[in-house]
Amino acid sequence: MASVTLKNIKKNYTKDVTVIKGVDLDIQDGEFVVFVGPSGCGKSTMLRMIAGLEDITDGELFIGDTLANDVHASKRGIAMVFQSYALYPHMTVAQNMGFALKLAGTPKAEIDERVNKAADILQITHLLERKPKALSGGQRQRVAIGRAIVREPKVFLFDEPLSNLDASLRLNMRVELSKLHQDLKTTMIYVTHDQVEAMTLADRIVVFNAGVIQQVGTPLEMYENPSNLFVAGFLGSPKMNLLEAQLVGVEQGAAVMRLPKGITVRSAVDASRGKVGDKVTLGIRPEHIQLADPQDANAIPARVDLIEHLGDIVLAYIEIPGINEIICLKLPGHMTGLKYGDSVRIAFPEKNVLLFDAEGLAFKRSA
């Protein structure tokens, strides 16, 4: 087990093409950290640099206390699980799992013992003599994870390991990975573009965009207090509603914004660094918008555009006259009475409204 420390890590493919623009990060021993971000944001490149499969252009990478920049991939004490599983097709499952040990000259009895132990953990003992082509996608993924476990690495690296699995299998494997981390207590770094995986698995999430870390924090912290518009829009499903507005009042511990058509909304943030007249973006999560009483004069009138029944919840997409964005509401599953074209009134609770300045940076919550 080991910590991983990144100090001002940079990666250039050519002089002009920079994919990682100076990353600083401390990953604690035994922590489960998830790198998340859209395609091409540099998260996989970052992982491959930690693995030793890509050169580090600049900066320092420590695994434990060792500077690992120039250490060969096999000597870093890491094991990696690939998106495509990358099982050797000509070897049996047992041979696949024991390959690294065999290359390291481990005695056969010990290889067998460690392979059997890993197979036991993953419940794939009955598959040990099969070739990868005779396995299903989920079984292959287990073997790939088994191959990593057998090496007893200091750090596990996962590169989108679940994205080739179907939805239900993905859920199962997610739970098992979480359990595996609890059992092994090894440092794990996990790359995904699926924010649900990130939210459910991570001790801490690192959100990447365009080669830069946007925010690091625990899943709930990131969800509740995104530091900028990108993180706000990226985490959460359905996405946070983001509406353009104008700052019309800065009070002690609150801000007042005006949406088009004179609608005013209050937010419990400290907007003292903004000034009246600034362009801002208002953000509110779908589950925080409330349906108001039809007689409530303060509520905002709106019209239902689309209703999606997901069983446990109802997603309502509504339109406020004068505002271009469609707003999403998450309502309890029993609210089945709404239909297309209905007029409703909605309220944005002050404590749930987030505010971002013209650069996209969040104003701090006042409470």
Partner: protein, 306 residues
Amino acid sequence: MSASHSAEKVLSSSAKDSAASKKRSRNMANSRKAQRALALAGQYAGLIAFAIFTCFPFVWALAVGLSTDPSNTWLFPRSFWPTEPGLMWFERVFTEMPFLKYLKNSTVMSFWTIVSVVVISVLAAYPLARLKFPGRNLIFVAIIATLMLPSEVNIIPNFITLKHLGLLDSYWGAIIPNFAGAFGIFLMKQAFEQIPQDLIDAARVDGATELQILWRVMVPVSAPSIAALSIFTLVNAWNDYLWPSIVITTRDKLPLAVGVFNDLTGPFAVSTSLVMAAIVLTVLPVLIFFAFTQRYFISGLDGAVK
């Protein structure tokens, strides 16, 4: 009245139209079917013609070799059917010339050619396919460019080189110039490029050196392509005539292709039937080998072009 009349007219004319269009579409369907049948017949005719074209020398040789009475050898098409069939000429092949010795020479030479071509092609193709170094493309283009040269260009430089190496009139002299071939390198490069990068990365993380990645991962995964390359090489080595006939002068070291030609043709040739029987016996081992390995051959090519 007149309105309803005209309406009827319209109706009946539209009914006529629809009947006509049905008929037309049926005709079109028929003609399309006929076209398809014609195209298929054309394809088959072409393939059959090609099969006859490629098989006829062998069938002719077989028929003549099996005819104990050679009087019909030059009569077309009568010669394609054996006259008084028997194995007399085949038996005589073994008595008139050291056929088994030639067979052994050919086998030994082909075996080492295959092994060497595969080893060299694999070793040359891996860096070209998978390692990054300056001049990689240039080297590959240079290798491929050698395919454009006629093989006769090599004869004099190779002969002089072998003379200096003291390898004239030896097995090695007859086969070494064939070891490094652009075709083999090209085929293996294509095969290695098909292998997913993740597999190589996985091996690298597992602690494999480049050579271990090559021999323990790349080569087993590319087995179909290697099988295809082996068969191509076997056919070429087995049928190689010109170069061994220049390099080897001792009769005991000759491969089949040269031996059969030297012993059974020319001014003192015994009989055309004997030559034909010898040719059939020469081709037979390759055909048998091909019959057993053609599955790999075809799947290997699949892998090579996919």
